[in-house]
């Protein structure tokens, strides 16, 4: 498989009045051509910041730390100047955001917003771009595109806005599409439509997708590979089946357990993770999950575990994998809280 993007030791911090918030603390991964990689985690785990770094969207007070590398076609995005970034964004890598209400320009017609991309990156004339925008709106199943193309975002519903965003993102046939919680603001029936659309277009154009979400249900259907983030680090990665059927990290397991599953009796206690995520102003030295983990040991709090390879596709950072660690079955969690 062709390697499209490689992220090495990515660290991103935000300098705030309270101090340095270490949002992403050393993340390594790669993205293959045409695949769907899901990044799963709760708010504040660093998943959105990771994707913003790939888009070159980290601005002051944010900072990509030294030694971080984001290699795309052999070039390091982290070191690009704004001219190079402008050439990259929207053409090779584009992004759709969680909130289609606030990520469209309210004072610009939808057609013009889509055409803008084509004029800048492909050097089309206004008329050509307008025609192409019409084709794109048809492609994303916006009904009545002749009328819609001259409307403003406020005239679109949430689902339609997200379709317009997708049209805009795919205008230049990018190699990578980053979808940051694309369906979180939408209703379930619309969510299903949008995910179906993204899958279809991915097949058509061979675009690789990085899907950022907290919803494991959405991931199960579309992802090829999953990586789970917690406290600014990737704690586990693997194929979709590895993660769902053979999770190795206690956090992954807990996350899977905290949504009601079909086998659970009604009103029976759900598994819930005690406590709250770590404060990244003062990130823990050891494993970020240690304080909430049912199997936490002393070493977990003191030293960050190494990455252990489970199989060709799966790896995990957890002290329980150490040969000297006590053998525990993480799938058996004592006393459902």
């Amino acid at each position: 498989m062709e390697n499209l993007l490689e992220v090495k030791n990515l660290r991103v911090s935000y300098h705030t009045y309270a101090g340095e918030v270490q949002s992403v603390r050393g993340v390594d991964f790669n993205l293959n051509k045409g695949e769907t990689l899901a990044i799963v985690g709760e708010s504040g785990c660093g998943k959105t910041v990771t994707s913003k770094a790939i888009m070159g969207l980290i601005k002051k007070p944010g900072e990509i730390k030294k030694d971080s590398e984001i290699l795309f076609n052999g070039k390091d995005i982290a070191k690009m100047n704004s001219k190079e970034l402008n050439r990259l964004r929207g053409a090779d890598i584009s992004m759709i955001f969680q909130d289609p209400m606030t990520s469209l320009n309210p004072t610009m017609k939808i057609g013009k917003q889509i055409a803008e991309n084509l004029i800048i990156h492909k050097g089309m004339t206004n008329q050509e771009a307008h025609d192409e925008a019409m084709e794109l709106l048809k492609l994303v199943n916006v009904p009545n595109p002749e009328k819609r193309i001259n409307q403003y975002p406020f005239e679109f519903s949430g689902g339609m806005r997200q379709r317009a965003m997708i049209a805009m993102a795919l205008a230049c046939v990018p190699k990578i599409l980053i979808a940051d919680e694309p369906t979180t603001a939408l209703d379930v029936t619309i969510q299903a439509q949008i995910m179906e659309l993204i899958k279809d277009l991915q097949r058509k154009f061979g675009t690789a997708v990085i899907l950022i979400t907290h919803d494991l249900g959405v991931v199960a259907d579309v992802a090829d590979r999953i990586q789970v983030m917690y406290g600014g680090k990737i704690v586990e990665k693997g194929n979709t089946n590895d993660i769902f059927y053979n999770p190795q990290h206690p956090y992954t397991w807990a996350l899977l357990q905290s949504v009601p599953r079909p086998d659970l009796k009604r009103k029976e206690k759900l598994y819930s993770i005690k406590g709250t995520p770590p404060d990244l102003l003062k990130p823990p030295v050891g494993c970020p999950f240690a304080s909430r983990c049912t199997h936490g040991m002393r070493i977990c709090r003191e030293v960050m575990p190494e990455v252990t390879t489970i199989s060709e596709t799966q790896s995990v950072s957890c002290w329980l994998q150490h040969p000297q660690a006590p053998k525990v079955d993480i799938h058996k969690i004592e006393g459902r809280e």
Binding site: V188, A192, R266
Partner: protein, 319 residues
Amino acid sequence: MSTEKLIQVNNLKKYFKVGRKQTLKAVDDVSFYINKGETLGLVGESGCGKTTCGRTVLGLYEATDGEVLFEGIDIHKLSSEKKRAFTRKAQIIFQDPYASLNPRMTVGDIIGEGINVHKLYTGKEKMNRIYNLLELVGLNREHASRFPHEFSGGQRQRIGIARALSIEPQFIVCDEPISALDVSIQAQIVNLLISLQKDLGLTYLFIAHDLSMVKHISDRVGVMYLGKMVELAATDELYNKPLHPYTEALLSAIPIPDPKIEKERQRIMLEGEISSPIDPAPGCRFASRCRFVKDKCLSENPIFKEVEKDHFVACHLFE
């Protein structure tokens, strides 16, 4: 669980005037009941009127028509004095734990406000009551002197629950209490709501759009679409044997966190989007998106009626 009805809603309507001539029919002729000690789930997409329904049941909105009987008495016809007595029995927990707590009040004052209004306790007794409530919802008494901004979303929702419980209500409307929270925190709050119900014998109207959570917590579930109740049945019955085409499509759209099941299942994809509740067209509200649409659906409004025991549906397919 008793079968004594705590709340009976009959043909409830709530219209809002928009502009000069248009009416938005947020809740349009909805009837249901809630038994003592049970949880009725109310689901539907945004704009279907579920929140308006919950608020009208509490009397926060005046009903346009219809009645809401609480223990047999219509709450919309109460004198202001009796209305105050009713507000002691019914409370609400809001969706957004960031917007629903006054940032200038301490947690103790927030929880104590209802106690003051109803003159339940004063002085030391009141503080003890506040401490007990905090402990009941999994916080501790030191938190009483802090301000809302010092808490995380899950903790704030716990404060909201403590506030609702402060005046010992019988009935609580939970308006999307978990949708603003992270997955691992959602489970904590749902567990808390379930255990409080068991201990205090509370009755819930649980409004949400997360269908799997609603399934988990509810005894019966009602499905709303554009201001109408389209189906209402016991939870297992509804999820296993949905009758209304909308319920069927809604259930098939829930993503299941299991790749094998996901890859095999067939989705019923709904075309289009929810239409406007402003002066809706005659006939069934769902007709424009329904796969089984007939001529009759476009002209005649289906009646909400019992087709099987305790299974209500409003659809021309079942007539």
